[in-house]
């Protein structure tokens, strides 16, 4: 891959980091006329350790949970300066800073109608602090704060449906995407920034360290999440399901056996069935199955 002038190599992300690839795809799609506000998290830490930065666009980090509000202030200032029409504003963060501690700031940003694209890089746990469970950790995942044990199969709750929560705000565009499908992600970012108002894209980004898979399996794992129906790719436009990636569903066990975080489930058909039910519900809800 060539070096990108907007997200340069030399940053300190782990090998096989899905978030680093997705972040690069996002900013390349958005282009140089973009200002980014970034929550605290892996992406912030590995891209901007003083005195170095990977970013070729104006970029700001303030705190863990406030990128949506900081971006709101940037957007307001750009309107005041008469520069908003020529500048994109992106707020971005991980799943914890977006869907847990930053959900209030995100909701405020959406409700106020700011012309901002929010991108959530969803690696399904607090990876920067050592793989603790977040509200977006999937059902039955083994994390350091939802460990499997004699009495537990891991995380007891399914993922918080943040894209649906965003969509319920009545915003013009909500999409899910995956590091396993970079062209699709790029297209969605371009589409989002062409729409005025608040937009939300949630990108599934495998974390080899936290999910416990080989670094060269990042794309395979990401694609399996989509192909099993566990991570449906869809677009809402003005509240209506406008598009979804259709699949010939693979059994979820193929996805589960690809990662150490689900290893404890492999000899437990009962629990695998529960995960399969989640995928089946997604397939039904979003009409994911390719019609014969």
């Amino acid at each position: 891959m060539e070096n990108s002038p907007l997200f340069k190599y030399g940053h300190t992300a782990c090998a096989g980091c899905g978030q680093a690839i997705a972040a690069r795809v996002v900013i390349e799609a958005a282009g140089s006329n973009t200002i980014i506000a970034n929550n605290t998290g892996c992406l912030e830490v590995f891209s901007t350790k003083y005195p170095e930065t990977a970013w070729g666009v104006p970029w700001i980090h303030s705190l863990f949970e406030n990128a949506a509000a900081v971006a709101s202030g940037i957007e307001a200032a750009l309107i005041y300066l008469g520069k908003k029409d020529t500048t994109n504003v992106i707020a971005q963060g991980g799943d914890g800073s977006t869907g847990d501690i930053g959900l209030q700031a995100l909701s405020g940003m959406l409700e106020r109608g700011h012309d901002i694209l929010y991108v959530c890089y969803d690696n399904e746990a607090y990876m920067n602090t050592g793989v603790q469970r977040s509200g977006l950790t999937p059902f039955d995942t083994n994390t350091t704060t939802s460990p499997s044990g004699a009495l537990s199969s891991g995380n007891i709750r399914p993922k918080k449906p943040v894209p649906e929560i965003c969509n319920a705000h009545g915003i013009p565009y909500v999409a899910t995407a995956s590091a396993g499908f970079p062209q699709d992600l790029s297209r969605k970012v371009k589409k989002a920034i062409s729409i005025k108002g608040p937009k939300y894209i949630q990108v599934h980004v495998p974390c080899p360290l936290g999910w416990r898979h080989e670094t060269n399996q990042m794309l395979t794992v990401a694609k399996l999440a989509v192909d099993t129906g566990l991570y449906p790719l869809f677009e809402y436009e003005n509240g209506v399901l406008a598009n979804r990636k259709q699949i010939v569903p693979k059994p979820v066990v193929e996805y589960l056996k690809s990662q150490g975080r689900f290893k404890h489930l492999l000899n437990n058909p009962e629990e695998i069935k529960k995960v399969q039910d989640i995928a089946d519900n997604n397939i039904k809800k979003y009409g994911l199955k390719v019609e014969a």
Binding site: S72, G73, I74, A77, L78
Partner: protein
């Protein structure tokens, strides 16, 4: 232009004159009247500003942080729990060297919940890296906001400034104030032109991770700037006097009948009006009583205070806040100002009063003077109601 106005309205008028590009706030009593007035000014087209209604104080502070980082003058106001809720951002704004200006309409802290005035809120954020200036009356509240922008945006400073005004007593009090004319404001306060900003023409990264190799120097730089700001405040106040015809000495402290005094009360904010009345009355009876009013609490003017009080035998410090389990906040600084020095008061007694809006009356001040004896006291509460303590503790 002289106007009989509510304190909050007068503050809104001066903020309008300072023309911030982004205003963001979340409602909390007693700050509300300020931001309501600003919202109306924006709605009427009198003030060309983006007014961002947010879902919390945390976001209010974050919005002005983002606006300031984009190179625009910004404003927010809050009180009490609101200030505490934005505390994380308050520290962050200073660390990022963004010259945000905030009004703190001083109010007590929960629990028990209480909307009335004391100064526990802003004093608790003394370590945040914000310059803190306390107004005695509404004229000062107006003038200090103008000075706040001028100081904070000074390229030698680049720090946020909090203008503190006692909730209700000032925010809701009606007084005649001289509102600075727009042309004079423009003369005194140049357009905001930051050293660094978020700009696609010249991309920079802000808010980077600083490891142990770099962190301390960033904090040291703020500490040094804070110390230097004592001098800048004196310099700027002289210029302010020249443009607006006021008589601020240096904006660090006000010495009121302290020169030959036997007893001096040290206090901050609107209560100093009451103390001055007692001082005048005592002086008329030939008693050598004075007041040292602290105007700038951060940075703390140690040297200035030393000079002012080094020959005064007895000092009473009246705090409208407590540091539960320790000496009261201003009292600690006062003792530190004289520790190890050749000269200084033999007695520095500390009193706590006015918490949660308990009135500090003329009689309260007389009581402080009565208790300022040869026996030093610390965090001695005034105006307590013994009958309530009896009920609670069975004393």
């Amino acid at each position: 232009m002289k106007q009989f106005a509510e304190g909050s309205h007068a503050v809104a008028e001066i903020i309008k004159a300072c023309q911030p590009g982004v205003i963001s706030a979340y409602p909390i009593t007693p700050q509300t009247h300020i931001v309501e007035d600003l919202a109306q000014m924006v709605s009427n087209g009198e003030l060309k500003s983006q007014f961002v209604n947010v879902e919390s104080e945390h976001s209010a502070a974050s919005v002005v942080l983002g606006g300031s980082a984009t190179g625009v003058r910004v404003y927010t106001a809050t009180s009490s729990q609101g200030l505490f809720y934005m505390q994380e951002v308050v520290f962050n704004i200073a660390g990022m060297r963004l010259p945000v200006v905030m009004t703190c309409a001083n109010r007590a802290i929960s629990a028990p919940i209480n909307i009335w005035n004391d100064q526990q809120d802003s004093i608790s954020l003394r370590d945040a890296g914000w310059v803190q200036i306390y107004a005695e009356d509404n004229q000062e509240a107006v003038d200090f906001h103008l000075i706040a922008y001028r100081l904070g945006e000074d390229k030698r400073v680049m720090l946020p400034v909090m203008v503190c005004m006692d909730g209700f007593i000032l925010t809701h009090g009606m007084e005649t104030v001289d509102l600075p004319e727009q042309d004079k404001v423009n003369k005194f306060l140049p357009k905001y032109n930051p050293l660094y900003k978020l700009d696609t023409a010249e991309p920079i990264s802000m808010g980077l991770l600083a490891d142990p190799d770099y962190y301390m120097e960033a904090r040291f730089a703020i500490q040094e700037t804070m110390k230097d700001s004592l001098g800048y405040l004196s310099e700027i106040s002289q210029e302010f006097n020249a443009v607006f015809g006021r008589d601020y000495k240096d904006l660090l402290v006000e010495e009121y009948q302290t020169k030959d005094a036997d007893k001096v009360i040290v206090a901050m904010g609107s209560v100093c009006g009451t103390i001055k009345e007692v001082v005048d009355e005592q002086r008329s009876k030939g008693k050598k009583v004075g007041l040292l009013r602290i105007i700038t609490y951060r940075p703390f003017p140690y040297a200035r205070i030393y000079e002012a009080l080094k020959d005064v035998p007895r000092v009473a410090v009246l705090d409208k806040a407590v540091s539960l389990g320790a000496y009261a906040p201003i009292a600690v600084e006062m003792k530190a100002a004289f520790y190890g020095k050749k000269k200084g008061p033999k007695i520095i007694s500390s009193f706590v009063g006015g918490l949660g809006g308990r009135d500090i009356t003329l009689e309260s001040i007389h009581e402080v003077l009565r208790r300022l004896t040869a026996k030093e006291v610390n965090s001695d509460f005034i105006d307590l109601k013994p009958e309530l303590l009896k009920e609670e503790y069975g004393k």
